[in-house]
Symmetry: D3
Subunit: 330 residues, 6 copies
């Protein structure tokens, strides 16, 4: 189970929009604290993600007994404009966290939705989240967590894997091959110094032709080699369907049918779909910025009732929006 | 000056791709630690942002005397594929941070670039970053900081404003108007309980017609009212150019020429450009997800030399890439 | 039944192309008056309209006994290039009216076709022709007649309604609300001075928020109020689906379920279709220039036989075109 | 000068929207008759046309001394949303005519604008309005009038030409050639029986090849033949640029340089522009539905002041809109 | 059966790429002559054509007994990238002919594929290849041959018809009509001097209207006239569907139901499809550059094994590609 | 100078449309042989090519003294529809060759025009015609000739080069590398057995990484190596701009600045233009099907006068078309 811990800045409201602090101050001075029913809905359909983290935050700030929280479950599909979270509590107890709640749902749902799209495109072939390098390190782990909620079978950061309850996934960076000076030498050193439970996946596009290197490392490691990774840069044509087929064919001709092929480098759901449609012999997809750089799904929070009285700002319908899918969380 | 402090997770590599930890372990066992020249370049042009935070991180991890860091300056324009950061140091001293460095540059540069686009579109009219609610609270402050580097004149989070060396900006949320039950009442209460140095900006679209409410709050606060904010929801047509002109006209007819108009709600650089091209009487733009949800600008890090020897993986040119714009940072 | 009366200018040929007058003069001097079979067909498919007016004209000018007229019925669907009218008579008795016949069929069929498109889009919800203000007053009534033939349930002009055998339809113009100074006051005055058989429909977008005004007039008139009309100008976002839903919701919450919603302002068949597809609670559509400004459907008149001999100009097929759908009119 | 005479139906309001009658009734009962300033503006730019007819109507209904009417001049260019007509008079004296005024301006301006586009495309080559057959005969004459205001050099209806102060223009219909049985015979009969001041233009596409017929009629009429008309139907390829050039070439080779070429059949401003750009030897363009079927330019009428007090409905700016181009008409 | 005879230039390699000559020279000096398995595949799907000519060439150059050739059959459908020809023989015996083999398959398959598209579009109406005038005379006959393989029922060149085992097809050129001075005179002379087994098809668009000329030649030749040909130039609108219908109608009205209509002039598969979809009374289509100027279908030849050992260049899969559709040719 | 020799089939008319033979037969029997002025014009602009071959043909068939031939010069630019060839001679002496003349001009002009487009795109970098393998071997040589007329600096066929007055150009096929088993071995053998005047260009993409092989062959041949050829297949990304830059960079770093880079594989004028715009270090472009598979430029031949009398078929202008650019050829 994911173990989230809201930072002190979030709890203290330092990452909230300043006007919520001022609003609380005004209401306090005016002696007002109505029980407010607030509903949250997304701007587009997707995978609902972030409620685990939200729950931790709300549990900390809402008083026992006088608050209700209803929500969809982490990882469920949500419709456009569907109410996915409803809080009923004295406004001053949680008004400050509107910014944080909308924000964490937005970002996590954006990541999970993109991951789901990849996972569905990949059918049963594992997709691994490799996108930490494209976003700020403060959210790398939570992104990896959301990617796994969305459907990734693994992720590359230690902390992200921890949140998701998995072991982190990794192959071999170009830096290792370059510093070792040769692909076979790097692979052998990796094999020698890495615990046996770590899968051996050799990166084969650094120095020579991919097919040639694949055969070289296969000969060197034999049965211990699980996969080769193709990450051919765009400057060299990228990882084409034909390259995958050719490496497979040459490995098979040389008797290395047990060596899988892992591909990475600019993969998107669309490109995965094409690879799967062509029935390419791929054994794993590494996906980076398509997931980690996915646009957040904006959430809106609306007060729909005050002290039980239906109300709404212009443009919204007053009163609670019925949604039988919501389950009580707090 | 921004005061960044890298989190423990970043320093310890828990947010890094796991294969860098493994690489360091292999190299250590092999007794290798070449001086590696690593160059970073972006996948598209934009505003270079994040180097201040990167500098703090690198200062912590690089040993004195045996490392050089060269880079562009925070906020400078960068070309597509231009080398904007070069590190020359023993590989094992910084190899672990490739993930974090690429990530923070990517995210911050993405935000700063979108902010710059808005600021240029807005000409001299202030743009304020209001997008914290669309991203994870862990990066809300750093996003606000980058938005200000890009050209925003203000931002809504307390911590973001602190990083950027400004006071936070805010108006009044719908929640205040709804809980107070009337726009005039809410505005008067805000005026009464808020320190005088905070600008009075009344939100006028909650209950009644915007033009009607604008006149009501102007009559109520008189000279103390600085601006009204229009945030009309899409369901009611959004903030149209004609609405702005009409509110201006009605305020002027009633003698409230001193009351400015602040607009928000789905603004993008393109829409700001249209408003400015039509010379609309706008006194401030609040921009949300166009900046905070802007796609990161992916960065690539390449080893180009080892112990002074030009080298590169296939697809890249071996050797240092000359760039006279770089300045020595460390 | 429609009672058309051709104007003196039409009868005398003053609105005809001059060359028909000259042709008749030449033929007379040459002593020629062959029995000409003339066929009329439209340039595109649509609703055939105008034959009632054409019949009145032809009855006046064709001599008894030596003429046949065959046509489709008013309001029938016609195919592109289908022969919809055939006249067999001495050429000099009707040659002068080719201009008028083509013209009235073209214009009326154009209007009826657009009206049919709206009526089909609206399903069972009434569509009312409100477009008199977009065309010359000399044809406003005949346009309204054609709109009703096409499927409108009402129209706004007195004479048009008379031709169509209906009572004219109307709500309340902005001018009444403006001159009375308040929506409620205007609605009450209208209610007081207007005969009881006229439906009470209050226009609620002139001064204040539509939802607010709808509640005010509903409270003022109670059971006597049949509908509110939403005609929000484009400058204020127009009549959006969400506005309709919101007004409905607020009326219902306040107990005014009997008050209907009539919408107008730039409606087209396409927009009606969208409203109906979204199952919006609309009780009537007012349609203006989509019907009244609809392009005429050009008609062509061809001589296909002379004194029983098949003939045709180049590009046309000589001889009568069989069409079993034609019925004898004269 | 055009001599317009509003019909009795227009004067009595039978072609007006019924709700204006009801409004006048309510105001009368309420004893209200404020001096209303009403402004009219078009939905798009074009040629302003209809004010002559509007002036006749307003002169009939406005009382002397207590009314002002300001407007642009017939045939002037108007901008989108420019105020082109302003009436200041007791509301009840003219409120009934809002429908008719908007309508006649809309229709006439639509026609004049399309005619202007053709005239500009044609450079100095005359354009003649031939579109009466595509619209209702009640507006054929006023359409021809507007076409001449827009730039046509002639028109085909007797009454339209009268309004425009010209002699009507015409050539020869296919009906004459068909009933006479031969192009040369028809042309000779026309020549024999038509007054000498009427230009001889022979239609040469009815029975045989256009080039062949052109030579035959040129030989038959010699110097008396002014032009041939090409109106080749679309079924035979229409009037192509190459056909015009070929007929010109063959006429010249045979010594008939004095015989001009008049073209018609589906001409639009765009096609005229192409013909002129190719410098085709055309001596006249007949234009039909491009002008007569042109979409009306919708006009809006707004009350902007009542008894001198600025007012406006939501979405419009209260008060008189300054426009120095307006001249006082009444 | 087609009787192909490779030219001396082809046999001697003078039309081959020079580097094959040099390769053979190098291999000879090195004493190498491995048995090479070469496979040919097309870049896109189409009709496989040229194998008859290829077989003649290969029969001449391959030694008996030590060579195998496998291929699809002339005129079969081939898939994109399908192996359609496989040669297994000592490399030096056929390496020189890679250029010629690829080239003749490419060109012939291109022509046959375009012809097939026309034939399918035309349903059962004959299509005749008339495109010799758009390509070099050296390949006119082989193009006509390929067109017949693709589905044409005839072709215009003597030698092409010979290769295809047919009598050549032709009607009458404009030159004959022009030099004879009249269509009827030309048709009568043709009829008088041409052997009776040649079909009489009169070209009717040279001097006068097509419909008029069709009737004239039908009257002149009576039962001996098989068809009229319409080839109206684009300058006169081309051969429109309506022209075909009109000529048919006028011929029928005059009792010439036995006279067919042959059309030509810019016909493409698409235009044939439209004519057939409209059920036009066409009795034959003459097709020119759509077939003769069709783009060749590029072929690639790959060595996949040497002396029985699977091999391939980078980017291709080593070893024989199984294709059960191939039949042994040599 | 090119030495063309028309084949016997062309001279005897066996490759002509059959109806010309029949026409000559009819005219002979009728005793007609008017002096015909025939003009040829292209359907689109391009490079005029084929007149040298046409001249040889016409010289053979036209009688001395009673014929004139006027034309543009081989390789000149021609406009769309410009008259580029005019023959004045007794019709029966050349009527049979209309098919061949149109065809050879069409095909050769099509090739030359495509070649010119490449040559202009390439600026001063040589373009070599490598397209023989994509067209029938009977026209491979004449295609290469036309390509050189259009601007290619070399071509690959022996006979084509002969016609163009050049030595044939070639590098090394994949077949040589495959049969020799290694790129360096193949290059060394080529170097050993090939006359010294042939440029040494080594093909480096067959077995290993292009950059690696380039360095290997450069080391092997040293100063004798003129260029490497990159022909990377699409399956491996094709020849990307970055590949060219990288190979250049690695050759330079290793001291092989004298070794040029020749590229081939799917090059079009557009792609050449992009390479040149990026200032890539390319020393030669090999172009195949873009030139050899270029669409022919259709030519039309029209009789414009007979025995000095202007005449033309419908759709064309009678009489000679003046063109001062024509020069007398015969």
């Amino acid at each position: 189970m994911a173990h989230f811990e809201p930072s002190e800045d979030i709890i203290s409201g330092r990452t909230a929009d300043i006007y919520f602090q001022r609003t609380l101050h005004v209401l306090e001075r005016e002696g007002l604290n109505p029980t407010a029913t607030m509903e949250f809905f997304p701007a587009r359909a997707g995978i609902f993600c972030g409620i685990e983290e939200a729950k931790v935050l709300l549990s900390k700030v809402l008083s026992n007994g006088c608050a209700e929280v209803w929500a969809l479950t982490e990882g469920e599909l949500m419709e456009r404009k569907e109410v996915v979270l409803r809080i009923i509590a004295p406004y001053r107890s949680y008004g400050l966290y509107e910014t944080a709640l909308c924000g964490l749902l937005a970002h996590q749902s954006g990541w999970a939705t993109a991951a789901r799209e990849c996972a569905e495109a990949a059918n049963d072939i594992p997709v691994v989240s490799f996108g930490a390098r494209h976003i700020h390190p403060l959210v790398a782990a939570v992104m990896d967590y959301a990617a796994v909620v969305g459907g990734c079978r693994g992720c590359s950061t230690v902390k992200g894997a921890e949140l998701a309850g998995l072991a982190p996934s990794g192959t071999m960076p170009h830096a290792l091959v370059l510093t070792m000076g040769d692909t076979v030498r790097a692979t052998e050193a990796f094999d020698k110094h890495t615990p046996p439970e770590v899968t051996r996946v050799s990166l084969v596009d650094t120095f020579r032709d991919e097919a040639e290197e694949a055969l070289r490392v296969a000969h060197a490691l034999g049965e211990r080699l699980a996969m080769v990774r193709l990450d051919t840069p765009r400057e060299r044509g990228g990882v084409t369907p034909e390259l995958v087929r050719e490496v497979r064919c040459r490995l098979d001709l040389a008797g290395f049918k047990h060596v899988g092929i892992f591909v990475s480098g600019g993969f998107t759901a669309e490109r995965i779909r094409q690879f799967v449609a062509e029935k390419l012999p791929v054994d794993g997809f590494g996906v980076g910025s398509f997931i980690s750089g996915a646009p957040p799904i904006d959430f809106t929070a609306d007060i729909r009732a005050l002290d039980g009285q239906a109300i709404a700002k212009r443009g919204r319908l007053p009163g609670i929006t019925p949604n039988p899918r919501l389950r009580r969380l707090i």
